[in-house]
Subunit: 332 residues, 2 copies
């Protein structure tokens, strides 16, 4: 990506008096941590800056929020700058889309490969492990000193978006940046407690129920599990608290492909798919009108849970059979 | 720690023709990864070098072992150098202790604060997040080039001993080293799959059963869970597969102190204790004849499981009550 665009973005921000930031819905550590880091920097420069949100801040990120976020679309009338942060698509802030377009200048900063160029200035660097890596560069271009609060927001964004430096988006650069954040004095213990030692009991309960109902497929090379509205009601868990389950399904020894089905409502089943090494779940998702990457994809099926389980199980088995055949042909 | 000692150790290794390495029992990623990294380096220098072990290599570390480890105490008769790696005490390689003392020179390299100085040369750096950070320095002093295999062993040691850079032993230096290892070309995906995506189904099952039987204490500020031999038999899980459970118990929102009781055999209950922020579980463990740190401690109770549950629960409740009183007194 051409760094000149980031410089132009910094210039536009320097000239602005009012700025509204737009994280994506179903907020995660990167979209919110990046937004908060930039918001702090802009306020240090004397700008009127807010993060406009439309859904709930997840509990593990409460510690970052100190009056930066607002649901009030009137907080700034027609801001000098609108910035979408970590949003691959304008549809990822649907309820705020029209407001976004009232910005005199619109900007998008992201690290997703599939990001659409929907703003006046788009800086998309798919080599960044997290959008916050770009935001850190941007804050430096704004000549704002990185204080502990900014550093902790950036760090939170990095650890959550890299699965604690474990996902393959992690690079040498990610670790070098993190070393710098340690230098600034982030409180690792506090952040770890907030992010990882803050699991609701109900979340553990729903995971137990889901694993108890998991089925293994094709000699343990596949597995499928599901969550129903009834299961949520019984355990008191929220649907969003089932987010990590698909990863655990895939982490089981010997499993290559995992599926996790969420009953959003009757006859609307959201399907998450993961592959471990050689599988290609984007092919399975596409066959059902969905999409994604080889190792992480999804689709929605408008059918009963039982039918969805059958359809997805059959597709996984067929995919694993096909992969086995290929492996035999190539003699591996 | 005086770096001169590490230089002297490097000199002793350069002069040696035969070297035996000693990881501690109940091997983890740091003790084994560090040993393997050093073994590769010594072999590159033309030394006869082996890692002498007395217990099983954990499955998630199989990928590192390529004929470096042996159970054969006669593989080298009286080695020029014996090196204990990541061992806080000579008792941590009990079955190999006498063999260790047959080394013409004995060395201990470790990062534990409580390490006893049992060797001729002891290099203990408690600021190192993992012993492997020291081993990397040592390999450089040996003038051996860090190849991918050495880098992957060191990386494995670091990620496992820091809980993926999450524990508070993690430092700026840890991230700087890791950045260098990325430069050498470690295969992050392969390592992550081996270490984290290799969970036996039986391990998930035992966790489910344990959480189903967990009890919350003192308004959810404490919790206690247990595993019996019967539960292991029913699920097919191994006792070692319950290692991570105590961490999850503590990770529950609102919980300050967690206890996990392992029924080793009838009337022998091993108790693990964890505190999240202000609790001091070493005090609880000491009262039962055990020990440890403020946030991680343990003891063994020679009584029935039911009695042990009662004793530990009462101690946790008393400790939390006392802590509450103190907090009230200080007005926090």
């Amino acid at each position: 990506m051409n760094k000149d665009i980031l410089k132009q973005i910094a210039q536009k921000l320097k000239e602005a008096e009012t700025v509204l930031m737009y994280p994506h819905v179903v907020m995660d550590g990167d979209t919110l941590g990046s937004s908060i880091a930039l918001c702090i920097a802009l306020r240090k420069l004397g700008k009127k800056a807010y993060i406009l949100i439309e859904d709930k801040i997840p509990a593990y990120l409460f510690f970052l929020e100190k009056d930066y976020c607002t649901y009030d679309q009137q907080i700034i009338d027609a801001p000098d700058v609108s910035i979408a942060i970590d949003c691959s698509d304008i549809e990822r802030f649907l309820e705020r889309k029209e407001k976004f377009l009232t910005g005199k200048v619109s900007i998008s900063i992201d690290h997703h490969m599939t990001t659409k160029l929907f703003a006046d200035f788009n800086y998309i660097d798919e080599n960044a492990a997290a959008t916050s890596e770009i935001i850190l560069d941007l804050i430096r271009l704004l000549d704002v000193e990185i204080d502990i609060e900014i550093a902790e927001s950036i760090y939170t964004a990095i650890v959550t978006d890299t699965g604690n430096f474990q996902y393959t988006n992690t690079t040498k650069h990610t670790h070098l940046i993190t070393a710098e954040l340690f230098d600034i004095g982030i409180n690792l213990e506090k952040i770890s407690v907030e992010i990882y030692q803050n699991i609701r009991l109900e979340q553990l309960k729903i995971a137990s129920v889901v694993f108890d109902n998991m089925a293994m497929l094709y000699n343990g090379k596949g597995n499928i599990a599901f969550v129903t509205q009834e299961m949520l009601k019984t355990t008191g868990a929220l649907m969003e608290e089932t987010e990590g389950i698909i990863g655990t399904l895939r982490n089981i020894s010997g499993v290559e492909i995992s599926a996790f089905l969420k009953e959003k409502r009757i006859n609307e089943i959201k399907v998450g798919l993961r592959a471990k090494t050689y599988g290609d779940v984007s092919a399975i998702a596409q066959a059902f009108g969905g999409g994604g990457h080889k190792k992480a994809a999804g689709c929605t099926l408008y059918t009963s849970l039982e039918d969805a389980k059958k359809l997805v199980s059959d597709a996984i088995i067929a995919h694993l059979e096909e992969a086995d055949k290929k492996l035999r042909r190539t003699g591996n």
